[in-house]
């Protein structure tokens, strides 16, 4: 990818970001944010970080975009959309000054960076012990597995936090609006056609994650998208918030991961995998994580419980 393409891409990114941040109409800003997310994914592709590009496209642009559209919808229904009045000029001036200062600081810091060669070689040397081809997965689930463990728990805590906002009278009910569609219409037929393919792609992403770009989070997002597709096309309704199997699915991934960590601790090396079995252990954890992440992301998008029927 040539420098010219990069510069053009960066220009587009900055343009999309400016429109997303300072756009007049809120819905317009949200849409431009999604465009911005996709462009950032392109930037990661141009940098050769395919894992991150996948994550950014799926989670950064995709799920966050859907969340923001959902929030916009919620605000519209609640009549709290008082957008398009520009903030008073002193605030804007101070914000601009602060932004310039921060930007300047960061740029001077970047320029003053010594040429650091980072840990690329170290990861390459060490990842043999985990028998994993993909260095990113080796870091995510091997060297810095503790970060990833905490992160999955952050997701579960976020879900508990979103559910804590449910009005008491509908607790135990179903999150999200009721979607209905003509039984044989386009939505219903596509809703039946695409999920198997989505499932296939998701499973492939996890399986490939060990040696090529992919992994639990990206796959989880794809599976969550499949779930949303099914619900959106009215084929199935969201599960009740209080259903036990749903809760079991949510905690399955983190529980397996934490269990592996604690088992390692009992065996003398916390979060350490038994020599030789590292790859299998990591794959098991990844599969469990994918299922839980898919469920958690879908439920985060659906939001707090909203209706009982």
């Amino acid at each position: 990818m040539s420098l010219a393409f990069d510069l053009a891409l960066c220009a587009f990114i900055l343009g999309a970001a400016a429109l997303a941040v300072a756009g007049r109409n809120l819905f317009g800003s949200v849409v431009f944010y999604i465009v911005y997310g996709v462009l950032i994914a392109l930037a990661w592709l141009s940098l050769g970080a395919v894992d991150v590009a996948l994550a950014e496209a799926a989670i950064g642009a995709g799920v966050t975009g859907v969340l923001l559209i959902g929030a916009w919808q919620g605000m519209k229904e609640a009549g709290a959309l008082e957008d398009s009045q520009a903030p008073p000029w002193p605030v804007r001036l101070w914000a601009a000054l602060g932004a310039a200062l921060t930007g300047g600081l960061v740029i001077t810091a970047i320029i003053a960076l010594p040429g650091q060669d980072g840990l690329t070689r170290t990861v390459a040397d060490e990842q043999g012990a985990l028998a994993l081809g993909n260095p990113v997965t080796a870091v995510l689930l091997g060297f810095r597995a503790y970060d990833t463990l905490l992160e999955t728990l952050v997701l579960s805590a976020a879900l508990a936090a979103v559910w804590s906002l449910s009005p008491e009278r509908v607790w135990g009910g179903i999150p999200g609006p009721k979607h209905v569609s003509r039984p044989d219409g386009v939505m219903a037929s596509f809703g039946r056609l695409l999920p198997p393919l989505g499932l296939l792609v998701g499973v492939y992403l996890v399986w490939a994650g060990a040696d090529q770009p992919g992994g639990a989070f990206q796959a989880g997002t794809v599976l969550a998208a499949v779930w949303i597709l099914i619900v959106l096309s009215g084929l199935r309704d969201e599960p009740r918030v209080s259903s036990l199997p749903l809760r079991a699915v949510i905690i399955a991934g983190p529980a397996v991961f934490l269990g592996a960590g604690l088992a390692g601790a009992l065996a003398g090396q916390a979060l350490g995998y038994p020599p030789g079995y590292a790859r299998t252990a990591i794959l098991i954890i990844e599969y469990a994580l994918t299922v839980s992440i898919a469920a958690t992301l879908a439920l985060l998008i659906a939001g707090p419980a909203r209706r009982l029927s």
Partner: protein, 491 residues
């Protein structure tokens, strides 16, 4: 190192268990409290011999993550375990019992264990990015619990938390870009190589953490959030959450970048700390609502912690304990943790009993609720820094460090802070004793709920009387900058 992982992992396990336990989620606290406190106590015993630590999964930094707990970490883990256990048992009154599952009764427990796990994770880790994820887990649980009270306050808290975490993340990213590692001990070794970038990164990290610790002038979000939250939640927020970001700040400056802090930075911390003490106390004195008063008291008490930066060295005085200010920070952190949680729990009981949140409604409650009033008194004694409490030991050691190093202006601020604390804490205390008749109060869900603040208050007082052991533990394994002071310590 396995013990440290277990200490961070145990609350996580209970988080997951409470997610699936549904109606019986509340009863888990009866298992969680003893288990985690026992683990923390075991760690304290181990750390007494030598600081505990090790690389997770066997991968040494800079590649892997190293967990480490020095004396201060062990004491804070134990105090945090005690406070969280007692507050958890107290919360059974509202979020437990045989009642059917409700949104709040169900989601309180995972958020409670998430908060506890976040605290433990912050106290055991020395890796900048790992601390970021831990403090995010802590923040999301804290904001969600604050939303149990006032959602508007929770939104403001969320915005500040987001800004703070971004600034911290940016700082951590720049440090990795400059030094190629995120582990504090390695950062200390490599810091001089890229002074300019590391300084900018440190400024960003400090700004972010100051926002999360609600240090004056970034404290606006704390009083509404802590004041309006339900009792158990405000106790958790004021006692535990604000301390985690301070501990990270102290670790970053004392262990990560010891030689880097110029005189200007250190005095800035001192001045901001002093301003926080004065501002918080004056605001607390003028409050009419009891919980608002206690919330502003938190803003003031946090100011004391920031005085440790200028006082760290304490000068090579005749006093045999030159590490005074580091020990003082340890005492202040743990005593405030116990006393503030106890104070909020007692205040919650009194407000529930008297049926009104204003200080004027408390008239004569000492007669109607003697045990709760005694607990309120004990906690107030520690917050005022009057002997024989842990708060007094902190104040005493800080004063010694201030005068031994010739910075007597900080001593004046500390003494004035103590007097102002007495002013705003005796206001409700006097109300309790005023009036002649015994006011009618609403019966508490469980008679034994008043024991929770009493245990915490007694612990705060005991920390002052039996202070030799905790002190010895706190100063074991303290960073070299903690003893020689931020400026003198060469990295």
């Amino acid at each position: 190192m396995n013990l440290l992982f277990a200490l961070a992992g145990a609350p996580l396990a209970f988080l997951l268990a409470s997610l699936i336990a549904g109606r019986h989620g509340a009863r888990l606290i009866w298992i969680a409290a003893p288990v985690i406190t026992a683990l923390a106590f075991w760690l304290a015993l181990e750390t007494h011999a030598r600081p505990q630590g090790g690389a997770l999964g066997g991968w040494m930094p800079p590649l892997g993550i190293a967990l480490e707990a020095d004396g201060l970490g062990a004491v804070l883990l134990l105090t945090c375990a005690l406070t969280a256990s007692v507050t958890g048992l107290f919360a059974l009154g509202r979020y437990g019992g045989a009642r059917p599952e409700s949104a709040r009764r169900y989601t309180f427990w995972p958020l409670f264990y998430g908060l506890w796990a976040g605290m433990n994770a912050v106290l055991v880790s020395r890796d900048l990015f790992n601390l970021y994820v831990a403090i995010e887990l802590l923040s999301i649980c804290a904001v969600a619990l604050a939303a149990f009270g006032s959602r508007q306050a929770a939104v403001n808290y969320m915005m500040i938390a987001l800004a703070g975490s971004l600034a911290y993340l940016l700082g951590a990213v720049l440090i990795y870009a400059a030094l190629g590692t995120l582990d504090m001990s390695l950062i200390a070794q490599r810091a001089p190589e890229a002074r300019a970038s590391v300084l900018i990164a440190a400024a960003l990290i400090t700004g972010g953490l100051m926002a999360k610790t609600a240090l004056f002038p970034l404290h606006g979000w704390l009083p509404p959030a802590h004041g309006a939250a339900p009792t158990a939640v405000s106790a958790l927020l004021s006692a535990l959450v604000v301390k985690a970001s301070f501990v990270i700040l102290a670790r970053v400056w004392f262990e990560g970048l010891p030689g880097l802090a110029g005189a200007g930075v250190i005095t800035a911390f001192g001045v901001l700390g002093a301003a926080a003490i004065v501002y918080g106390s004056v605001l607390a004195i003028t409050q009419t609502g009891l919980k608002a008063l206690i919330a502003y008291s938190t803003v003031a008490q946090l100011g004391y912690l920031f005085l440790v930066f200028p006082l760290a060295g304490g000068g090579e005085s005749a006093t045999p304990w030159t590490a005074g200010a580091w020990g003082a920070m340890g005492f202040h952190l743990s005593a405030h943790m116990l006393a503030k949680a106890g104070l909020f729990l007692a205040a919650g009981l009194m407000i529930y009993g008297a049926g009104g949140g204003r200080i004027a409604d408390l008239t004569g409650l000492a007669r109607a609720m003697p045990v709760t009033s005694l607990a309120f008194g004990l906690c107030a004694v520690s917050l005022m820094g009057l002997p024989p409490s842990g708060g007094f030991m902190a104040k005493y050691l800080m004063l010694i460090a201030a005068l031994a190093s010739g910075q007597w202006h900080y001593a004046l601020v500390i003494l004035a802070g103590g007097l102002m604390a007495a002013a705003y804490l005796f206001k409700p205390l006097a109300r309790l004793f005023a009036g002649t008749g015994t006011p009618a109060i609403r019966a508490l869900p469980h008679r034994s709920m008043a024991l929770a603040p009493l245990v915490l208050g007694a612990a705060a007082i005991a920390l002052g009387l039996l202070s030799a052991e905790p002190y010895a533990l706190m100063v074991s394994g303290l960073p070299e900058a903690g003893e020689a002071g931020l400026e003198e310590a060469e990295p």
